[in-house]
């Protein structure tokens, strides 16, 4: 019963089971006051489950939670809030049509006789945003502000509730390098003020940069807690995966051949606003090279891919694929020379309620080997699916007949990659192929893409992860507000330089910088 216990929050021997899995198996996590404690693990390691237990969303089967040395019960998020625990979720919990201020005070409104006391609230929020340098426009609607700003709103929400234990669930996934730096600075500021931070991530750079200690989870178990200053990226990733991991992509220099894809003055309209999402974009992709389109989310990359793959009609411009004009061709026709790993695997990539084998022939069911006179040839599809599952190591409960919805995100993505790469097309369009995947799966998909390149295929990669852009690409195109604002050689450019172009602070002539 010391006056100042060493740990502000202790989660002791937490066990949480779901039908068929133990998501958290006897995990102990201790958070010191005023520290930034990172929680590292692959997808499915149990990080989010553990945080959900702390936030009162799940009830653990065993274990206890202590605050300042005393056992507390957290049955729902209100209990957590009362204990000063706040959380910034990976997917923001904001109401789009409310103003920033209304979102911040929602659920903790001060009222008088049933009337909102907005003026008081505004004063408090303004003070907080001043003090921590979290600048937001309080009267803007959430739908009209940037993702980075929305995150600031979420942080202000926690501060407004006077939370002293702050949980950040994968906070950097949606931010630009500059915004990530700002966030890190903010987090350090919180720690200096005595707030305690739990920082969930699988990005080693950020963990090394900002955290004091790291707890690593693997397959629901706690692998260990280490001081950040005593470890390094390689050691952490080995702990996380359970075997030595190759962090760098191993690839030989590219040997580009003929032009496979040629895009000229392509213009694609936007579904969201009236302006063109892609404006007068021109570039080439040659066989045997990986060209990467870098940029902050929402700068036209998605629509560029839609325009090339035919999911959206281009309003102007030409696209040549393998020497044929495909500007007005149907999606199926384009698919004859192009495979596409889509950005949104649930929306476009898979039919979640179909079985794995049905998904693996999504574009190919009409090929003579999979049908006879319009009747589906189940045995052949089964055989083909088993072959792909084995070759690409796709894991699932019941093999070819597994309903895809029940598979993990990583294996769903692997199934898409298997399907698309096996189609063996001259051009591979891969959009954020490793989003949300863990180190092991990323390593695998990267090596597959490099292998495709070495086979002489052209790869057009769209990625928001600068690490991926830098390590995988042979050429980088930066997109900003629907235009390509720079072309770079990854060996001759720094991440910071790219960041400036991505944020629109600098722009050069296409091709000018790389020479």
């Amino acid at each position: 019963m010391a006056a100042q216990p060493e740990y502000i929050i202790e989660m002791l021997h937490i066990t949480k089971e779901f039908p068929g899995i133990v998501a958290n198996d006897d995990i102990t996590l201790r958070l010191r006051k005023g520290e930034i404690h990172a929680l590292l693990g692959e997808n499915g390691a149990g990080k989010s489950t553990l945080m959900s237990v702390l936030f009162g969303l799940y009830k653990p089967e065993a274990g206890e939670i202590r605050k300042n040395g005393e056992v507390v019960r957290i049955d729902d998020p209100n209990d957590a809030t009362a204990l000063g625990i706040g959380m910034v979720h990976q997917h923001f919990k904001l109401i789009d049509v409310f103003t920033v201020l209304d979102n911040i005070i929602l659920g903790a409104e001060s009222t008088k006789l049933g009337f909102l006391q907005r003026r008081e609230a505004r004063k408090k929020v303004e003070e907080l945003s001043e003090r921590y340098g979290l600048h937001v426009d309080l009267d803007a609607k959430v739908e009209s502000i940037t993702v980075g700003m929305q995150q600031r709103v979420e942080i202000l929400k926690m501060l407004y509730r006077d939370n002293e234990i702050l949980i950040f669930d994968e906070p950097t996934a949606v931010l630009t390098p500059q915004e990530i730096d700002e966030l890190m600075e903010t987090m350090r500021g919180f720690a200096r003020e005595g707030k305690s931070i739990l920082f969930i991530s699988h990005k080693l750079n950020e963990i090394m940069a900002v955290s004091d200690r790291v707890t690593v989870l693997r397959k629901g178990r706690c692998v260990g807690t280490v001081d950040t200053k005593d470890t390094n990226k390689q050691a952490l990733s080995n702990m996380m995966v359970g075997r030595p991991v190759q962090l760098e992509v191993n690839k030989s220099p590219a040997r580009p051949g003929d032009t496979v894809l040629s895009v000229r003055d392509l213009t694609v309209p936007s579904r969201i606003h009236k302006k063109d999402a892609v404006h007068n974009v021109s570039f080439d992709v040659r066989s045997g090279e990986i060209v990467c389109v870098a940029g902050i989310d929402g700068n036209g990359q998605t629509e560029l891919v839609y325009g090339i793959t035919g999911l959206e009609k281009a309003t102007a411009g030409h696209i040549d694929l393998c020497g044929h004009d495909i500007s007005h061709a149907s999606i199926r026709h384009r698919g004859e020379n192009m495979s596409h790993i889509p950005e949104d695997r649930h929306k476009h990539g898979l039919i979640l309620d179909f079985t794995l084998e049905q998904n693996l022939v999504l574009q190919r069911y009409k090929e003579p080997r999979f049908q006879r006179m319009g009747f589906i040839d189940r045995p052949n599809i089964r055989q083909y699916a088993e072959h792909l599952i084995e070759q690409y190591d796709v894991r699932s409960g019941q093999g070819p007949v597994t309903v895809v919805r029940s598979m993990s995100g990583g294996n769903q993505q692997k199934a898409i990659v298997a399907r698309e790469l096996d189609r063996d097309k001259a051009l591979i369009v891969a959009v954020q192929p490793t989003r949300g995947l863990d180190v092991g799966a990323i390593e695998y998909i990267h090596s597959q893409l490099v292998a495709e390149r070495d086979k002489g295929h052209a790869v057009l990669l769209v990625s928001l992860e600068l690490d991926e852009v830098m390590s995988l690409s042979d050429r980088i195109l930066v997109m900003y507000e629907g235009e390509i604002v720079g072309e770079f050689d990854p060996k001759k450019v720094t991440v910071e330089e790219l960041g400036l172009y991505m944020a629109g602070a600098k722009r050069g002539n296409t091709g000018g910088e790389s020479a």
Partner: protein, 437 residues
């Protein structure tokens, strides 16, 4: 061993679906019995014996053979009842197929009544309009049948087109086209010269295709079920159900249609023409409803009173519970359709043999309709109990060999946390590591 196979059978998804439907039906019947009880107790002219008779008829009306010499209810195989049940099942099987097939492709076809009406109009007009002394009656029947299908298909494709091209919700479009159909049919018969066709002593405005000598062949069913209205229509309906099953599950077209229904975006991504398929789905669904109307009115037993058609035919709406109870399985629809008409027959028995009226069976049908919407919930309840057991077994096994392969639900961003993540087994990493080395 035997036990293992049994539990595997019980764990199958299809088994659970059937169980859920049976539970819905049983609850519906029990509620019907309770209504019979309450009505009996509160009404003066029904004795306790009468109540008991009513309850027995609710459950076994199809086997009723009237009253015996002693005045008590007698039960046994009643070919007339069974034949009539099959006859009445025919149109509702078709509308059930229509709804089920649309459901499978992600569309809610609440437009079956309108499609049914359009099918009614086309087949009646063709059957009555082509003189059978010029064209053989058999050929007229076929033309009228195909005409009914075509009219239903056209009517069904209207909401399909609106959905595909303008993204208008098919439910709203279907409801509107239902009422348009009701008025179009009324108007068309009103201006037509069929108005003055009358058979025997019947007043006009009543259409019966036998007036023109057109009726569905019996295929010997009338000898199997003497005294009933049964005809070859039920066989045609069963064949249609099998064809739809084959279409949806065995062909590339069915694959496309289901792909569009499950995830239109992914279908488009794969190069499937989603718009065409939505229209096609609705056209096929409409054609099935139209076929149901044709089979009903071409039977030769039925009359159509056009001037009462200011309302929509129940047969169309009844397709919805028939499809739901069958979990949208075309083969299942045959059984649930027959079940629904069995309730009809039970209602008739109630009316003719007791002081109750047939509307009690409408209560039962209504309860079953509600419960069929809940049958998913019931199914989850059934599987929930099983899953719990499975977890106990699994954790016990995990404790024994000390190797559980936990994969957090955070990976399963695709589903609720109670969906187990079956992958990442213990040897996951080592195998991959080995492959690399």
């Amino acid at each position: 061993m035997k036990n293992g196979r049994l539990s595997e059978f019980a764990g199958r998804d299809g088994t659970r679906t059937v169980l859920a439907s049976i539970v819905s039906i049983l609850i519906g019947l029990v509620v019907g019995a309770i209504v019979v009880l309450i009505v009996g107790l509160t009404s003066d002219n029904i004795t306790l014996t009468g109540v008991w008779e009513g309850i027995r008829l609710i459950f076994a009306g199809i086997f009723s053979t009237g009253r015996n010499a002693a005045g008590g209810l007698s039960f046994g195989f009643n070919p007339t009842n069974v034949g009539n049940m099959l006859f009445r099942a025919t149109p509702v099987i078709m509308t059930g197929l229509s709804v089920a097939m649309a459901f499978k492709t992600g569309l809610f076809n609440i437009g079956a009544p309108g499609q049914y009406l359009m099918g009614t109009m086309a087949s009646l007009m063709l059957a009555l309009g082509i003189p059978s002394d010029v064209v053989p009656a058999g050929l007229v029947w076929i033309i009228a049948f195909l005409g009914g299908i075509l009219a239903g298909a056209v009517w069904g494709s209207i909401p399909g087109l609106l959905k595909a091209l303008l993204n208008i919700n098919e439910v709203i479009a279907c409801i509107m086209t239902n009422w348009i159909a009701a008025n179009v049919v009324t108007w068309a018969f009103d201006v037509s010269n069929f108005k003055n066709l009358a058979e025997n002593t019947k007043a006009s405005y009543v259409y019966r295709t036998t007036y023109n000598g057109v009726q569905t062949p019996k295929f010997g069913l009338d000898e199997l079920f003497p005294g009933s209205q049964v005809n070859g229509g039920i066989l045609i309906a069963i064949v249609m159900a099998i064809l739809i099953y084959i279409l949806m599950n065995k062909t590339t077209l069915g694959y496309e249609l289901r792909a569009c229904g499950s995830n239109r975006h992914a279908a488009r991504y794969a190069g499937i023409r989603d718009k065409r398929n939505i229209v096609l789905s609705m056209a096929i669904a409409g054609g099935l409803s139209g076929a149901g109307a044709a089979l009903y009115y071409l039977s030769g037993n039925t009359e159509f009173f056009w001037n009462t058609y200011q309302s929509l035919p129940d047969t169309g709406f009844n397709g919805i519970p028939v499809a739901l109870l069958a979990a949208n399985n075309p083969i299942g629809v045959v059984f649930t359709g027959i079940f629904m008409s069995m309730l009809d027959i039970a209602g008739l028995q109630l009316t003719s043999l007791t002081a109750y009226n047939e509307y009690i069976t409408d209560v039962i049908i209504a309860v079953i309709v509600y419960l069929s919407a809940f049958s998913l919930v019931i199914k989850t309840l059934i599987s929930g109990r099983r899953k719990k057991k499975a977890v106990e077994v699994q954790t016990a096994a995990a404790v024994e060999d000390g190797s559980s392969g936990p994969a957090g639900p955070e990976a399963a961003d695709s589903g609720p946390p109670d969906v187990p993540d079956p992958d990442i087994p213990e040897d996951a990493q080592s195998r991959k590591g080995g492959a690399e080395a």
